[in-house]
């Protein structure tokens, strides 16, 4: 019995609603641009990011649009390559946090009882841990590679998704079409994942965009503090190195920070657009 509320037509409606928010569109465009830059980095970067081709602290000109850094590496190339880690981190953390959070939240909301109690307590406890200190601690103790960092950050973020999902599932559980599906013999897993979740997923998606923004910020902050992966080019790392000689490489400071800022801003715009799509503001009709 196909009672799955048509996801496709709701996607079309979704896009209609999303289009209305201009900032949301701007955000989407910019994020896509970043992703493209990240994918094409090896092809569009003028020089290899680690190559010591020039003298240090050169001013911007034809050969190097934003100059060179303290070691003589060309800034634009480093900027372009830096996109990769930010996107990977942002999407990876948000994705991981989404999957874990949604599954656990759905299970908690659907089955209820002691399982729900146990899981909900765990959400609370994990949220009690101040993420920044934990992240620093883990990275310092276990090594500053990207996988560690991503795992820890995702670990601190998944309970938010779990809570949202749980609330959604609790609300949708009682709907008629769910009862109908149950009566027609569908298994619990099937109902949960095919019928309930597709309809309740929207607020989690809006939140996902915010989590991506947060992940990008964390990655930049960690690299800035020197706890990032030393083998990867990262904007935070560029800022950190430029900090020792700010007057001699102002363009590095401005551009690397701007790259971080713009990506975070775009994710935030994106989530605003998603909210506009999910809460269509029609007139309040108390007819």
């Amino acid at each position: 019995m196909k009672t799955q509320v048509p996801v496709l037509s709701s996607m079309r409606n979704f896009w209609q609603g999303y289009k209305r928010d201009r900032l949301g569109l701007v955000g989407l465009v910019i994020v896509i641009a970043y992703i493209i830059v990240a994918l094409l980095a090896p092809y569009i970067s003028p020089y290899p990011p680690e190559a010591l081709l020039f003298s240090p602290f050169l001013s911007p000109d034809q050969q190097h649009f934003l100059g060179t850094d303290s070691l003589g590496r060309e800034v634009v190339s480093r900027l372009i390559w830096g996109t990769r880690i930010s996107i990977v981190f942002g999407v990876g953390v948000a994705g991981l946090s989404l999957i874990v959070g949604v599954i656990l939240g759905a299970v908690a909301g659907y089955y209820g009882g002691w399982l729900d109690n146990l899981l909900s307590r765990s959400f609370e406890v994990v949220l009690m841990i101040p993420s920044i200190f934990l992240i620093i601690l883990v990275v310092a103790m276990y090594g500053s590679n990207i996988v560690n960092a991503m795992l820890v950050v995702a670990f601190t973020q998944w309970p938010w998704n779990a809570r949202i999902t749980r609330a959604q599932v609790l609300g949708l559980k009682g709907r008629t079409y769910v009862q109908a599906a149950l009566l027609s013999g569908a298994s619990h897993m099937r109902i949960l994942f095919l019928h309930i979740l597709p309809n309740g997923i929207q607020p989690v998606l809006a939140n996902a965009s915010l989590q991506m923004a947060y992940a990008v910020l964390v990655e930049a902050s960690l690299s800035f503090l020197g706890l990032g992966d030393p083998n990867q080019v990262s904007w935070g790392q560029m800022l950190r190195l430029a900090q020792s000689n700010p007057l001699r490489e102002p363009w590095t400071i401005i551009s690397s920070g701007a790259a971080i800022f713009l990506l975070i801003l775009s994710f935030n715009f994106l989530s605003m657009g998603l909210n506009a799509a999910l809460n269509p503001r029609y007139a309040e009709r108390k007819v």
């Binding site: 029609y282 007139a283 309040e284 009709r285 108390k286 007819v287």
Partner: protein
């Protein structure tokens, strides 16, 4: 005392105007109770909000007059209207809604409303509120309670008490018993009837529930698609309905007395009030609709004395052939 002439209330929505109330006229004399009946979405609440002039931001009174004791209140300034509210005309909201502020105690909210209109001390105000509570069967101790601590029925009584604070001339009751269980519904209705008698109130009772209206109102007006389709004395409307919609409504409610008959429902759904409508607004669902009905909009004409109907065939034999089976 209260006369509404050709009231039009439209809401601005994406893509145009929603014609919630499209030319509604009725009158209310001292001591009368008018029942305004219709499905949800037919414009009943908008009429109430328009009378109080508390329409939401995108709602507007596009046309028409609301004459209260000879004064057109649609023309009043906001400040003048504010002084008039609650003193002359007040409203009973549905208790099911978030009609009261959850963070303040109920007693203090009513006191605040009273003191916004009358120069009384806090103690005097509290006395009045307590007295009203007593009249409605709410124990004095409940003054200190918060809204979420009240049961549905008690909350409704508190809201009724609130509407009586300033001795208004007219009270508009918007679905005062919806979402309450039948036993409580009955109690509330009894209270309303009692209040009406003791205080000689004039009331407009809005409901989708015909049975409630039948029990409490002297006059009835049936609304559909933003217009009044039939209006008459309560007795006349139930015994001699003259509009297919009214007939459909009556037939969809069971009756303890009388022969056992099959309940019927009206097929179809309410009209889209954002699109222009040609002809009779009820035609798509009407079992006796003729060609004329789809082309020419019927006017609200007198069938018999005070009994009006908006149907081309109200006075003809065709009206007796309305059948929804």
């Amino acid at each position: 005392m209260l006369k509404v002439n050709d009231l039009k209330v439209y809401y601005s929505v994406s893509g145009g105007w929603l014609r919630a109330v499209d030319g509604v006229s009725f009158g209310l004399e001292r001591g009368e109770t008018l029942g305004l009946v219709g499905e949800s979405g037919c414009g009943k609440t908008s009429v109430a909000l328009a009378l109080m002039r508390v329409l939401p931001q995108n709602g507007r009174i596009m046309y028409g007059e609301i004459m209260l004791d000879g004064k057109d209140i649609t023309k009043l300034s906001e400040e003048e209207m504010r002084r008039l509210r609650w003193n002359e005309i007040s409203m009973i909201f549905q208790a099911a809604l978030n009609a009261l502020d959850p963070v303040h105690r109920i007693g203090s909210q009513l006191v605040e409303v009273l003191r916004a209109h009358k120069e009384v001390t806090k103690d005097q105000a509290e006395e009045t509120v307590t007295r009203l509570f007593g009249m409605l069967g709410i124990p004095r101790s409940r003054m200190q309670s918060y809204p979420h601590e009240f049961s549905g029925g008690m909350k409704q009584r508190a809201i009724i008490a609130m509407s009586l604070l300033c001795d208004p001339k007219v009270i508009i009751a918007d679905e005062p018993t919806t979402a309450l269980d039948v036993v409580v519904q009955d109690q509330i209705l009894e209270k309303l009837k009692q209040m009406r008698k003791e205080l000689s109130l004039s009331m407009i009772l809005i409901s989708h529930d015909l049975s409630i209206v039948a029990e409490t109102c002297s006059k009835v007006a049936i609304m559909y698609g933003g217009k009044i389709v039939e209006s008459a004395d309560a007795g006349a409307i139930f015994k001699y309905p003259r509009h297919p919609y009214t007939i459909g409504l009556i037939r969809s409610f069971p009756s303890i007395l009388g022969a056992l008959r099959k309940l019927t429902s009206i097929p179809g759904s309410p009209p889209q009030l954002t699109l222009p409508i040609q002809g009779c607004v009820y035609a798509p669902r009407c079992p006796i609709a003729q060609e004329r009905c789809r082309v020419e909009e019927p006017a609200l004409l007198a069938v018999d004395g005070d009994h009006y109907s908006r149907c081309h065939y109200a006075k003809q034999s065709l009206i007796h052939e309305v059948n929804y089976a």
